[in-house]
Every structure is written in structure tokens, then in C-alpha cells.
Symmetry: C2
């Protein structure tokens, strides 16, 4: 049975932009595993009923169905113990902090910067759902929430610990990348796929790391379709 | 030969407020090790010449002299391998991120909030040195830099990933504390010793963790002398 990963796609079936799915894509590549993409849209809740879940990524691997990006990384470490992603004990607990750092410090800052680009990259059939759920979450319209100036200033502050780490080593996990790198880099892939905004200046130590991450695993990130690759799609 | 830790002290020899020294105090307790305090002041550069260094903590342990709080934690893991602090490989790399997070995200925010309290807690002979070096670093006077409103807002934002982590587990390192906890908690001890400012509300998941950290190792943090314990010292 083929390994299948349900992934969020946008205006093109090849435009895969979920930060959580990118974590899993990198984690699979880290383990040397292939998985077929099953395109999914925000409003396709029914398509995930079999997994008793309403969000992607969902990984179907033989008899195992696993939801949630972090749980999928844990599953991959159990099922394929070579070249650990999260590791165990203190290593695993500490990896979890990178998940929270990406979701609570980096993504909110990026979101304020790229939200209108994100709306534009989402499939037309998903846009009402996206607008409604996010406006409820933010307590204001997407247009009011959108503020690249504030978002970039917030991101600049949030990146400070990452800069320190990347002045010490090439990857967050040391000389070679592992889960900490993938958990954080997923957020940058999300922004990269839907927007041409420059989030990090090329003088920043984070910039060199982003370049290294794009090159990894045969240029996995570098090769990914961006909205700017689709003629007439980027406004 | 007794183990000796050079520690920064303030208006009282027992007022030990360096965040970096607190990391080491907790790390020593974690290993079940004692160390005699050798009081040190900012302007006592000569007293550390033997270690070829100009800042505390400096640990003298038998024939070993070790400087820098993170290096001291590494040394302790090598010399006393039981109950690891940093661990090795990915665990160690990930621990380093907590050091940068404390120094680059939390401390700058705390500094804006407590700097005048800090100046007040420093020994009078150190105050000119402190003012001169910090004003040069901040590019303005201490009074101009001081802004509890901005500092607390900045701290609130910086604490977001910590909140996520502490909703998952009692300590940053999981069910029991280790280096990640000590690296971050040192910053809170710094603020606690010199100031009565409420940095974290009691509804915050971080608050419960601070309480647990204060209780650890026989109430090591709880028992520490605060400036508010010295009659007439807190203004």
C-alpha cells in the first residue's frame, strides 16, 4: 500500500503551502521516505472523516493513520528509528519548544505580513471559509489585520534567539538538521509559497540558514511551486 | 580544595543577582554539588585575572577553572555525568536555544522594566561603571531606556512560546527540570532579586512554573535574599 500524505493546496493542485505539511515533507525526506500527495482543501472536511480529524497533514502509512504534524514526527521516529528527528527524553521535550516558537512567535508575525497574499493563493472555493474563520479569530477584517510594517517589526524581534543559535552552528540542531530545523522552517516555506515578501534580509544569519534549508534533500524547498510561478496568479 | 563560585553581589554581600550565576547555582544543586560563594563586584576585574576573564560566574573546581555559565554547565556534565543538565548531540544543541531565548528575547524586555531597580540594588562602588557601560550599550541614559510599559508588553509577547511549552509539561525539559529550565529561570531570578515588579500574572501558565522553580532543590530560589528583604534598601 502506497504511503499517502494529505496536503493543503491552493489555486493550483501543486501549490502546497501549509507550514505543518512542510514539516512532514521534510521529515519524510529526512528518513528517506516517499509519500504520494493527496490534495486537500480547507472545505473538504468530509475527506478526512476516515481519520476522525478536520485538518491536514494526515499521513496514511500502511495500517497507520496519523494526524497532527508533531505527532507524525513522533510516529516516524517510532516506525523508522534510523536518523532520529525528535529523539527522546530531554531532546524531544526541547524540540517541542521549537514547535511553539514557530507557531506562537514567528507565524503570527508572518501572518500580519502575508495575509492578503495568502488569501490570494487559496483556492477560490476556500476563500469564504478562510475569511470567516480568520476574521473571527483576529476579531477584525483581514484587511484591518494586514500590516506588513507591524508584522515585519514583530518578526524582527521574534527572530533574535534564532540569530544567536545560527551564529553558533549551521542548523538549529547543530551540524546537521533535524526536527528543530523542520519545525521552524515549515513556517518560512508557508510564507515563501504564497508571497514574494522579503522576510529576512540577506545580512541576517537566518538568511544563510534559509538558503541551506532550501537546498536540503535534493532541493526539496527550492523546487516547490510558488504562487509567483503561476502566470497571472500573483497580484 | 573547596569548590568556589565567584558570584556578582550588590548592596549586600548576600544579594546575589546575576542571571548567569543563578544558572550555575541551580546546575550545581541539580548535580548535588556544593560551592562556596566568593563575592564579586563589577569593578573587581583584577580579582578574575587568574581566570583570564572579566565576568562572573567563574567556577573553580579542584584544578579546573571554568568561565561562562553555559561552559560551566558543559563542564559539570563532563565532570559529573550523573543526571545530565544539557545532555549530548541534539539535546545539547536544543538547550543552547534556551540560552539565546533567555538572553535575547526575555532579558532585554525585563531590563526595560527593572533597570532603575537594578541600579538601586547594585553596590554604590559599581554604579558609575554600570551606568557608563549600559548607557553606551543602549545609546541613551538609563532613565530614557527605562520603560516598564514597553518592557512588560515586550515580555508578554516574548513569553508566548514558553506558555505553549508549559501547557504541555511541568518543566521546559519535561516532567523533571534540567538545563533548559535553569537557563531560562536565571533571568527570572535576576529580576526577582532586585525588583518587586510583577512580570507574570498569576493566571499565566508561566506563573506556576516559576513557583515550581522557586521550590526546587530545597527552595533554593525561594530562600534567596531579595532587595526587599534589606531594610530601607528598596526605593
Amino acid at each position: 500500500m502506497a504511503r499517502v500524505l494529505y496536503e493543503l493546496c491552493g489555486i493550483d493542485e501543486g501549490l502546497l503551502f501549509s507550514p505543518y505539511c512542510w514539516r512532514v515533507r521534510y521529515a519524510l525526506a529526512h528518513k528517506g521516505l516517499e509519500a504520494e500527495t493527496r490534495p486537500w482543501y480547507f472545505t473538504d472536511k468530509q475527506a478526512l472523516a476516515f481519520a476522525d480529524h478536520d485538518k491536514v497533514p494526515v499521513l496514511v502509512d500502511g495500517d497507520s493513520t496519523v494526524t497532527d504534524s508533531y505527532e507524525i514526527l513522533r510516529y516516524l521516529d517510532r516506525a523508522y528509528p534510523g536518523t532520529p528527528l525528535l529523539g527522546e527524553g530531554m531532546a524531544e521535550s526541547r524540540a517541542r519548544f521549537f514547535k511553539h516558537y514557530a507557531e506562537r512567535a514567528l507565524q503570527p508575525a508572518m501572518m500580519r505580513t502575508i495575509i492578503m497574499d495568502l488569501l490570494n493563493a487559496i483556492h477560490p472555493k476556500d476563500r469564504d471559509y478562510f475569511r470567516e474563520t480568520r476574521e473571527k479569530r483576529f476579531g477584525r477584517t483581514l484587511e484591518e489585520f494586514h500590516s506588513p510594517a507591524k508584522g515585519l517589526a514583530q518578526l524582527d524581534a521574534a527572530l533574535a534567539p534564532l540569530r544567536g543559535q545560527l551564529q553558533d552552528s549551521d542548523f538549529l540542531d547543530g551540524a546537521v538538521p533535524a526536527a528543530a530545523d523542520y519545525l521552524v522552517f515549515g513556517s518560512f516555506m508557508w510564507a515563501r509559497i504564497v508571497s514574494s515578501a522579503d522576510l529576512v534580509s540577506n545580512a541576517d544569519p537566518v538568511y544563510g540558514w534559509l538558503e541551506r534549508m532550501l537546498e536540503l534533500h535534493d532541493g526539496l524547498g527550492q523546487k516547490a511551486m510558488r504562487v509567483t510561478d503561476i502566470e497571472g496568479a500573483y497580484r
